[in-house]
Structures are given as C-alpha cells and as structure tokens.
Amino acid sequence: MQSTNIIQIENLVKRYQNLVALDHLNLEIQEGEIFGLLGPNGSGKTTAINCLLALLKYDKGTITIFGEPMTPGSYDIKRQIGVVMQNVAVFEQMTVRENIDYFCGLYIRDKEKRRQLVDEAIAFTGLEDFTKMRPKKLSGGLLRRLNIACGIVHKPRLIILDEPTVAVDPQSRNKILEGIVELNRQGSTIIYTSHYMEEVEQICTRIAIIDHGHVLATGTTEELKQMIKTGETITIEAIALDEELLSGIRNLPHVFDVSYEEQTLKIRLGAARHNLVRVLNYLQEKDVRFGRVFSELPTLNDVFLEITGKELRD
C-alpha cells in the first residue's frame, strides 16, 4: 500500500529580524507515522510547528496539510488536528474534567458525543481518580497527562506533541510515551518534537534531524545510523596510557577516532565484526591493565555528532 503525505512543507523560511529561524525547511510526513523532529534547543522545532499551525507568519514557503494549504481560516483542517503544547495550557480555575470538556467543546458541539469522548480521554490518560481536582493540586506528571488529554480528547487524525515530556519523572514519561504509541495504533498520525534522543529512538518510525532551521537528515533510526561512519563505540577504563600506545590503537583496523581523557579511553570504529576482541587483544599484548569495558552501537547522538560536529545535548 502506498503511503500518502498528510503534511508537506516546502522551502519554509522564517526570520526574526536578522536571525533565520527556519532556513528553507522541507518536510514530508506520511499518514500513520510517528514522525520525530529531533534537534537541540533553538534548532527551530517549535517555530516549525507554530508555522505549521498557522500561528506564525513566515517569510517564504508553502505548507499543506491533508492536501490543502494551511491558513488561520482553515477550520476544517484544524478540526482534525490535536496539539499538545510544550507549556501546560489549561485553566487553573477549572477541574480536570471541566478543562477536558471545555477544550473538547471547541471541537465537538454534540453534548452526548462530548461526554463520551471526555470519558475516553480521562480513561486513556489515567486521570479517573483526579477528575474533580484543580490543576494546581496535580503533580507534574499528572499535569502533563491533563495537558495531553486536552489536546487529544476530540480524537484527531493528526496529533502534534511539542516536547510533552519536559520536566516529567521517568515513570510518567514512560506512561506518556506508551500513550503516544497507543494513539498511533488507534489511527492517529503523530508529530513528536523532542531533544531527548532516547524517546525519539524509542517511539518514532521516522525521524528528521533539524538544526539551524533546516533538516540535516531524514529516515528511520536504522537508516540514520547507516548514514554515519561510526559502527561501534568502545569505552575502556585504563590507567596511564602513553601516546605510543594510543597511536598503536589508532592503527588497528576500522578504528577512526581515539580519545583518552580522565583515564577513559574512547574508541570509535566502523561497523565490522570482532572489533572489541581486537582492541582487548592489543591491550593485553601491550600488558595494559584495564577496568570496565563498554561496547555501544551508534545512537542518534552519534548521528547528530557526526552530522553537525556537536553533541545533541549541547
């Protein structure tokens, strides 16, 4: 079955005076995906989302959603979109249920249908025991769940989640991520922005790495990892290695980067069999005593590091 693009962004340019926030951004998102927009803070993720939602004016480019141009007056498109903002956006003066019902009412007029949808959203986010509480009384994790419930209560076809797990404890974070996967399973297309690569790696079916307002690479996690030289990173705790020894390691097959800082040896190698065995054999030959040894496959951070020359967490 051929996938269809439900979002198409072409050559999107957004400037804030002299600062170029989006620099000819191009994106295509297909129906049924969990699409990850990964980039450091300030890379342009939220600006792209705000342009997509027709909240921000942009200087150049086109945005189409469900095949139609997106404008502030595109109410039929807006009806099919649910948004979970980075900042919690609920009314402090209303209870959990009232908040969800209010936001549902902005999409759904029918009272009975609304009641059913609100009940489902409460159950989905596990807020059954907190329906009569005001947001101020909720923990950070529950508040985030309420934020999500308000955004998805009308069962949208497209859900945009802008860093929904910021400042959330690990347990709530896992629950939120499981919920997102479930929403996708129920038929919604998801756009998920984050600077937490583990989350993106865990749930996204396709990822765009974005920095300085343009897309650096797009693909599945595996496709992105194959784009880079690093196939494996070996980390070894070792005492007093001299330059001659490090030079020897550099000359081992498939090794392309060696660093030694604070008694930790880090070796990056291309994808090949028996990399670890070769390195350990060499150290034993040279009678080097070492402690713990780690071998890691490349992460999205490695992908980002190789593409941009800087850590994603910077």
Binding site: L55, M85, A89, Y102, K111
Partner: protein
C-alpha cells in the same frame, strides 16, 4: 456554544484574585469610607444637613482688597456652614485649636489660608470652603481682566446660585463632600473590570500564553471566542457594579439617584470601559502578566485618585485648573454622572457625561477588538 459560555463564566468568577479587585475591594473600600466618615455625613445625600463647623478668624493688620473680600465671604458663611467663634488673637485661636474646641483657623490675608490640626470631616469641609472661595475669586479675577463688562453679570449669577442653593437645593439634596468619595469609588469599581479584562486577553492571545495558542488552533472561529469572552466579562462586571451600587445605596445609605434606567446605563457603560481597558492592556506585547496587572492597578487607581477617590475635592481642583483632564478621565466622567444622578439632577451635564462615556466605550472596545482579533503573529 452555551457550554463555552458556562465554562468561561465559571473560569472568570473562580479567579479569586481578579474578582477580589473587581468586586470585593471596592466593597471593602466603601465600608472603610463609611466607617471613617461616620454615617452622619452620608445621610446628607437625603434631606438632612450637617452641624456648623466651629472656626476662628484671624485678621492681619494691614488689610488688602482680597483680604476684605475673604472676610466678607466668611461673614456670609457664618451661621450657614460655619460657626465663627469670638476669638481675635492668633495665640488664642491656636490654643482653641489644640484643645479641639474649634476645627480650624482662617487667616484673613491678601492670600487667604487655613490651619487645621488633623484630618476629618470638619477639616474637609473647611478645606472645601477655602477651595470654593479661591475658585470663585480666581474666576472673577479672570473675568475682570478679560471681560470686565461681564463682571456684574457674573456676580449676579453667583448671587442667584447662592439663593438657589440656600433655599432649594438642586435635585432636592444637600451636598456632602464625603459623598464625592463614594461616587469616585463606584467609578473606580467600574474601571476595576480591567482586572478581569487583562486575564481574558492573555488567555486569548497565542503570542502571550500557551492557553491562547491552544485556543487559537481550534476550529472555533476567533470572533466567536472573542464574542463569548467579552459577553461573559461584561455580564460579570456589570453584575459586580450592580452589587456595589446596591451595597452603597441600601447598606451605606448613599443616594445614586432615583432614575434606575439612567443608573443601569451608566453602570453598563462603566463596566464596558473597565473591561475594554483591561483587554487593551492585556494585548500589550511582551510584558509579563505581573507587569500587566501593575499597569492595571495604575490605570484604575490613578484615574480614581484624580476623580476624588483619595481626596474628595481633587476633581474640583482639576476642574478649576485643567478641566480637560476631567473630560478624558473615565473615572471622573463616571463620578460626574453619578453626581448628576445623585445630587444635581442636571440633565444637560448628565447627557454630556453619557456622550463622553459612549465615545470612550466605543473607542476602547475598538482598541480592544483590534488588539485581540489577530490570528497570526510575527513571533510567539
């Protein structure tokens, strides 16, 4: 639609800090006014009158034209509003003032002056007497210099005014300077709708709050949301003002006139001005919510101050020196409208107030609407 009204209504009335400023604070302030003035003065908006205030008059040796005129003026007030004691030297007068057997000392000089020992109702009356004299003297000097041929007409007009007020008070009511405070209070309360307006404006702007962004991306038309917000705000604040007016008239006994229709009209326009002022302040770009509330306090209390909320005679002083301020200060216009209804029954002046209020309401409504109608922003 109805459920959006309902939730917006709940959200606004449950916002305790804002409702405190818009409803409770004016009621508390009114109660404090009532307690500090005592009930005696307030009854004078009915048919009663106050006791004469005991004073001493001290004359300087060499008397000028101005001093003689002031002495004559005081002599006319003796028995009406003042009870001039038989004290001739300054030292005796000061002793009497310290012993609180008199409330003040008028000095008959080229530039008349007044000495009081404390703040209070009697002292306010004496201040008003002096202000009133200075005001009239300044007016006559101005007429004498610019239109000397009209001086006699002006003097006759003043005599006519004196006769009228002495025998049959306009609107059938005597004037108590303290009542000014209550008119200014209701006017200030109308402007306090700004506190509700700011919150509503912030909740509707995508470039100011996350809530605004969330509401802006829904399929409900922005105009519908604005209409719901404004209607609910007007309703709530209009009701707030009605509660205050009921409290001021029924509990505190201050008359706001007998024309209920006119009172409702002024209250409605006052509420609208307050709410729109807040919505317009809420639209101010890129200042924090706290700052906006600070601006709100400034834009409600300062006009209230100019309208006589902290010093009852302030509006008259401004009227004397810069009347334009009283025409463009919504609190002063509102206070004046209440004054016309409660004291004067002066339809011409009342109509002028209504016209100014209508223009202000329309202008502020337009500014507020232009501020919040935007759907797409340069930056968020």
């Amino acid at each position: 639609m109805l459920h959006l009204f309902r939730y917006r209504f709940l959200q606004i009335i449950r916002n305790f800090p804002n409702m405190f400023w818009a409803l409770l604070f004016p009621i508390i302030l009114g109660t404090l006014f009532y307690l500090s003035f005592g009930s005696a003065g307030l009854e004078s908006t009915g048919e009663s009158s106050w006791d004469e205030v005991k004073v001493a008059v001290v004359k300087d040796r060499g008397t000028s034209e101005n001093a003689r005129a002031f002495e004559e003026f005081l002599a006319q007030m003796d028995g009406e509003m003042l009870d001039i004691q038989d004290i001739s030297t300054e030292s005796e007068a000061l002793k009497a003032l310290n012993e609180e057997t008199i409330s003040g000392i008028f000095y008959v000089r080229d530039t008349p002056s007044l000495t009081v020992a404390k703040n209070g109702l009697n002292e306010s009356i004496l201040t008003s007497v002096l202000e009133s004299y200075n005001q009239n003297a300044a007016m006559f000097r101005e007429i004498a210099m610019t239109r000397p041929e009209k001086l006699m007409d002006a003097l006759n007009a003043l005599d006519d005014y004196r006769n009228t007020t002495a025998e049959v008070s306009l609107g059938g009511k005597d004037l108590d300077p303290n009542v000014q405070y209550f008119f200014a209070l209701v006017a200030y309360a109308c402007l306090s709708g700004a506190f509700l307006g700011v919150q509503s404006s912030v909740d509707g702007q995508a470039n100011i709050s996350a809530l605004g962004a969330r509401r802006s991306i829904t399929p409900t038309h922005k105009l519908t949301l604005i209409l719901i917000d404004m209607t609910v705000l007007f309703m709530i604040h209009f009701f707030n003002i009605l509660i205050l007016c009921l409290y001021v008239t029924r509990v505190l006994g201050v008359s706001l006139g007998d024309d209920i229709g006119a009172l409702l009209l002024v209250d409605f326009m006052g509420s609208m001005i307050g709410v729109c002022l807040g919505v317009a302040i809420g639209c101010l770009a890129r200042i924090s919510y706290g700052m906006k509330m600070g601006v709100c306090v400034l834009f409600t209390l300062f006009p209230g101050f100019l309208a006589g909320l902290m010093f009852g005679n302030m509006k008259n002083i401004i009227e004397l020196h810069c009347p334009l301020i009283n025409r463009i200060n919504p609190a002063a216009v509102l206070s004046d409208a209440f004054y016309c209804m409660g004291i004067y029954n002066d339809m011409e002046r009342f109509t002028r107030c209504l016209v100014i209020l209508a223009v202000m309401s329309t202008l502020l409504l337009t500014v507020a609407f232009l501020g919040i109608r935007r759907e797409r922003y340069d930056s968020i």
